[in-house]
Symmetry: C2
Subunit: 197 residues, 2 copies
DNA sequence: CGAGCGCTTGATTGAGTTCAAAAATCGTGG
DNA sequence: CCACGATTTTTGAACTCAATCAAGCGCTCG
C-alpha cells in the first residue's frame, strides 16, 4: 500500500525507513473518482494532497461564474491551498478531481509530527516552497509579457503530460483565454504545420 | 546603526539580543542611490536585500525590450531573486533602486549561520515564503480574471504606499498594461469622480 | 532656459471576446 | 456494440478592450 508516496518521501525528503514507520499511521490514502470536490472556496483547507495516480486541479470562480484554473496536479505532485492550510484562512479556490485518482492525504498532525521526527523534511519543504515560487513567477511573467499563442506553446512544453489529458477548455482557462481563442490558436499553429508530439 | 533591521528580526523572526550579536558581523548595510542596479538578468543572485528606507523594484526585460515589473519593495520588505539565490541558477530579472534607499544585505553565509543559531528563523522563513506565495497567487488570479481597471483598483488598495511614489508607467508595467491605457483608466475613474485617498 | 521625460489625448489597429450555431467526440444505457 | 444525448471543439461574424502610433503639454533638473 501507498508504495509510491513512501518512495517519494524517501527519495525527495530524505525520510528513512525508521522515520517512515513513525508517521505511516498518520497518513491516509484514498481513491477519489472524477468530479469529487476536495476543497471548496471559503472552506478552510485542512489537508494537503499528494497525487499518486490521476489528475486534479485547483481553480477559482469569479463573480460572473467563470472558472480560472490555478494549477493542474498529476502524478507525484502536491495540491492544496497552502495558504489556507498554513494560515488557517478561508480558501480562495476549489480543488477537484479531473481524472479518477489515488491520493495521499496529509493533515496538520502529519506536518507537525514529521518535522519533529525528520529535520530533512523541513529542508525538503523549503525547497518545495521555492519551487512553487519559481513556477508562479514564470507564470506571472508570461501573463504580463506573452500573448495567447506563446502562452499555449509554453504550456505544452512545460506540461506535455497534462496537455493530452485535460479538455481544451481547461487549458484555455489556465492560460487566461477563452476556449474559442485557444481553438483558433491551435488552428493557426496547425496551418503553419506545427507538430505537438 | 541598522536599528530597523535588528528590530525587524527580533519582532518578526524571534531573534534574541544574544543571537543578534552572533550574526551582526555578517550583515552589511548600504546606502544606494536611485538608479543603482543591484542584480542583472543572467547573473547569479548571491544576496538578499532588506529595505530599511527607499524603494526598489524587480523586473524582467522581454525580447522586444519591454520591462515587466514583478515586485516593488518599500520599507521593511525583502527583495531578491529567491530562486537564483536558492538554486544558484541565473537570475530571470533585474533589481534596481527607484528611490534612494538604505538596504541591509544578507548573503549565503548569513542564511546558513542564522539557521544554525536560531531555529525560529527557519520558521520565520517558512512563513515568509508562504506569504510570497499568497501574494503571487492573488496576482495570478487577478491577471486571469480582471481587466485593466480592476487590476489598478486592486493595486492602489493593496499598495497605497507605493502608488504615490512611483511613476505611473511603472504601475502600468506592474499591471501588464501600457502607460496610455493606465492614463485612460484613471481619466475614466476621475470622470466617475473616484477619490483615491 | 531648453531638453528630456512622463503624462495625456486622439485616431487607428488588432488581439481576443462574445454570441450563436454547427460539427466532432465522448460516454452511457439499452 | 450501437445509438443517442451531452459535452467539447470548431467556425463565423460582430464587437470590445487595450495596444500602437503620433502629437502636444507640462514639469523638472542640469
Amino acid at each position: 500500500m501507498q508504495e509510491s508516496f513512501r518512495d517519494y518521501m524517501m527519495a525527495q525528503a530524505g525520510i528513512t525507513a525508521e522515520q517512515w514507520e513513525l508517521i505511516v499511521s498518520l497518513i491516509q490514502e484514498k481513491t477519489v473518482p472524477k468530479g469529487t470536490i476536495l476543497l471548496r472556496q471559503g472552506d478552510i483547507c485542512s489537508e494537503v494532497y499528494f497525487v499518486t495516480t490521476g489528475l486534479l486541479r485547483s481553480y477559482t470562480v469569479d463573480d460572473s461564474g467563470k472558472e480560472h484554473i490555478l494549477q493542474f496536479s498529476a502524478e507525484n505532485w502536491w495540491i492544496a491551498d497552502r495558504n489556507s492550510f498554513y494560515y488557517g484562512e478561508p480558501s480562495l479556490f476549489f480543488v477537484d478531481v479531473i481524472e479518477d485518482a489515488r491520493i495521499t492525504i496529509l493533515d496538520h498532525d502529519f506536518e507537525t509530527r514529521i518535522q519533529e521526527i525528520a529535520p530533512s523534511y523541513t529542508r525538503f519543504n523549503t525547497r518545495a516552497l521555492h519551487n512553487a515560487i519559481r513556477f508562479m513567477q514564470r507564470r506571472i511573467n508570461l501573463l504580463l509579457s506573452a500573448g495567447a499563442e506563446e502562452r499555449y506553446l509554453d504550456f505544452i512544453s512545460l506540461y506535455p503530460n497534462v496537455t493530452l489529458r485535460v479538455p481544451q477548455w481547461m487549458i484555455a482557462s489556465y492560460l487566461g483565454i477563452t476556449p474559442e481563442s485557444l481553438s483558433r490558436v491551435r488552428r493557426e499553429l496547425a496551418r503553419r504545420n506545427f507538430k505537438p508530439h
